[in-house]
Symmetry: C2
Subunit: 209 residues, 2 copies
DNA sequence: GCGACTTTGTGCATCGGTTCACAAAGGGAT
DNA sequence: ATCCCTTTGTGAACCGATGCACAAAGTCGC
């Protein structure tokens, strides 16, 4: 389920604060979900709590981490080292959760060779070689929209099946490949939509007759 | 609906390529959705196509833009000018869709006073004043997790009701306020989860007995 | 050891969204 | 003008997710 990372984050916070045991109700509040939903998620995942007590925080952290595959180390390549790619390379949230930025790749000769976040930026020509050699299994696309599909095709050709796409295009991929999309501009547009609703809905413009 | 921005992007591309009219089927493919869903979305929004022909691209662009509120100019403030905040400030995708970055705000005296993307970074003490004076209606939170809730409370207090949150925390807000969350680390965790599934599911570890 | 209380796990009803499939509507050719 | 072909708009079945409510299970105090 897509909510497990949310639970995991809440649990990590509790573990740090020394909480040993937590009820579904409390955890649900911390994660911002319904408690029945949370219990169903956890039961579906096979983990057991103790009736009358709750869930053991440590044990649950371990179970969810294992389910999510965070007990292993994932090598991530970031393609496209513009402003966004740079920010991602420096983002601390990746490392802390079992993800390791293993390669930075760009097409701009101006950028290739630079050192960012301790990594050497490599040329797009070496894309396939770098991915294969470093065992990269997840690729982050932070390229311009025009370049995204081509890069996508190339990384799929060398066996990558998980892609996080920041480029504002709909990637076409075989259905053996998972793509997750983050489009910053779309998020803002959705907010603007709701904001406008609050302000009284779309104006009653005299439409084309 | 949350899919309107997707349609809009596809339509913009078509308009640029000189396409005058488009069928629900073609547009659905371009946006990566089912054609019946698309037709239902569009009909629900009140726009009309022509049976036997399809939709007029220009007209549809206008209708959707109006529905999303993109005919007006939205002032956005970015709070937290770290790597991510900087990337967002420089991101071209905002401006091109009716969003204007009207303010950059940070707490770090080292950063305050810098000019980024043509804007002066202002101090967090001036948060309320800046938001009010510049007519900011959407706030982007790119602060560390610890600071997010406090900033959130302050901007809500001066009337902001739309927040785009990049900080990895669950914000607690009154339900008159819309919050959209983008958590980069969670996206990667979901990919890792699927990736692991493909590789044969969680290992059959000898669990705690 | 026993009873009252707490909390999990889940059956069931519900709900919203998705998809299918088709009738109604319009365009174009003859 | 009429017929056929294309495409929309939507009724209805379907599906998964959600939330309620409760029985089963286990703890804690006495």
């Amino acid at each position: 389920m897509a909510r497990l990372p949310l639970y995991l984050r809440a649990l990590h916070g509790m573990a740090e604060r020394g909480v040993a045991t937590v009820s579904s109700e409390d955890l649900a509040v911390a994660a911002g979900v319904n408690s029945a939903k949370l219990r169903k998620d956890l039961s579906h995942l096979g983990s057991y709590g103790t009736r009358g007590v709750g869930y053991d925080v440590e044990y649950l952290v371990y179970q969810i981490s294992r389910e999510l595959g965070l007990t292993q180390d994932w090598a991530v390549a970031i393609v496209g080292v513009g402003n966004l790619g740079r920010a991602l390379a420096n983002y601390g949230g990746f490392v802390s959760r079992g993800f390791r930025v293993a390669a930075l790749i760009d097409a701009d000769p101006e950028v290739v060779g630079d050192t960012i976040a301790g990594l050497n930026v490599e040329h797009i020509d070496a894309l396939e070689a770098v991915i294969t050699r470093r065992g990269v299994s997840i690729v982050v696309l932070a390229t311009p929209a025009e370049a995204a599909q081509a890069v996508c095709d190339r990384v799929i050709a060398v066996g990558v099946t998980s892609i996080l796409n920041f480029a504002p295009v709909v990637l076409s991929v075989p259905d053996t490949v998972d793509v997750r999309k983050v489009d910053l501009s779309i998020e803002l547009q959705i907010l603007a939509f709701h904001e406008q609703r609050k302000a009284g809905g779309p104006l009653m413009a005299v439409d084309g007759q």
